[in-house]
C-alpha cells in the first residue's frame, strides 16, 4: 500500500475535496476527504460484466458520489498528462 502521487484538490458541488491516489492490493484506489462534515470516501475503477469500466465506492453504498467524483478525477488526470 503506498502513495502514488501527490494529493490534489478538486471542487465537487462547490465543496473542496482532497484526493489521494493509493495502491491497495494491486489496484489503484482514490481516498477522498471532503471539506465539509461528510465521511471520507474511497473509490476505484471496476469492470462490469460487459467489460466496461465504471467507478465504484469501496465499500458499496455511495455509488452516485463515486461516479461523479470518479469523472472529475479522470478529467484531472487527463489534464495533467
Amino acid at each position: 500500500m503506498g502513495n502514488e502521487t501527490e494529493p490534489f484538490e478538486l471542487t465537487y458541488h462547490k465543496i473542496k475535496i482532497r484526493v489521494q491516489q493509493h495502491t491497495v492490493a494491486n489496484s489503484f484506489v482514490y481516498h477522498i476527504i471532503f471539506h465539509d462534515k461528510r465521511q471520507p470516501l474511497v473509490i476505484t475503477r471496476a469492470i462490469n460484466a460487459n467489460a466496461a469500466r465504471w467507478w465504484t465506492s469501496i465499500p458499496e453504498g455511495r455509488q452516485s458520489e463515486a461516479e461523479e467524483i470518479g469523472s472529475l478525477i479522470a478529467e484531472h488526470i487527463k489534464s495533467i498528462q
Binding site: 500500500m1 484538490e9 473542496k16 482532497r18 493509493h22 491497495v24 492490493a25 489496484s27 484506489v29 481516498h31 476527504i33 471539506h35 471520507p40 474511497v42 476505484t44 471496476a46 469492470i47 462490469n48 460484466a49 460487459n50 465504471w54 465504484t56 465506492s57 469501496i58 465499500p59 458499496e60 453504498g61 455509488q63 463515486a66
Partner: protein, 268 residues
Amino acid sequence: MCYYNGQKVTRAEYIRLKQLEKAVANYDFLNRDLQVGFDYSMNAVLKRVPDKEDFDIVQMEWGFIPPYLKTREDVNKMRHGYKDPTGKFRPPITTLNAVSEEILAPGKIYRDAALHRRCLVLSSGFYEWRHIHRLNKRTGEPLKTAEKYPYFITVKDKEYFYMAGIWQPWTDKATGEYVESFAIVTTGANKLMEQVHNSKKRMPAILNDDLAYEWLFGNLEEKRIKEIGESQFPAEEMEAYTIAKDFRETLEPTKHFEYDDLPALQIA
C-alpha cells in the same frame, strides 16, 4: 454473475472488490489525519486475541460505554446531558479518558476493564489546547478568559505510536446493537505537555514498545497496571507545534500555523 454497487460484475471482479474492501477498511482508519475527541468516532485499536500473544486491529468507538447503560438513548444522555423528570439538567459525563491514578479504585466504571480488557490505541498524533491568559491593559492583571491555541503533538520519528487504553463490550438492550468502546488512559503531563496542555497538565499514557507489549499481553497485578498507566513518555522524544484554530474544518488539520503573539515553548 454477482452484483456490486448495482452493477453486474463477474465473480472474479466481485472477489477482487471484496478483497479491496478489507484492505481499504484497514487503510481508511489507519490513515485518518484527525482524531478529535468529543465526536465519539471510531478509532483503530489493538485488541488481544483471548489467551494468545496475538492481537487484532479493530475499530472501536471512542468514549467508554459503562455496562449499566441499557440503550443508545441512555448513552447519548450520559454524553450530552439531559433534563430529568423534574426538569433539572443533568450535566454530561465524559468517558473519553480514564485517569490512571483512579482506574482501579473500587466502584470505578473502569476497574474491570483495567484488570481484564486492556488495549492499545493507535495514534499518529493528538491535539491539545494551550491556554494563554493575556494581561488586562488597564489593570495589568491576567484576564479571566484565556486565549486558546491548538497544538498537534507527535512522537518523533514514529508514524504511529501506542496509547494505553481500556475497552468494554456493550449491547443495546433495545436494538441488539453490539459495540466495543474504549477510553484512553491518561497520566500527569511531562515537561512538554505541562506547557501545551497547561490548563489540566495531563497527557495520554503513551507506551514504548516494551510497555505496550506488557500492557496488552501481561498478566499484571494491580500495582503494575497503575505503574504502566502512570508512566510518562519522555518529553524529549515528543514534539508539538501550533496549528490553525479552525483545524477541524481544514483539509490539512496538522499543517503548522505560526502565531506571532504566542510565546514559544521551552523545549524540554
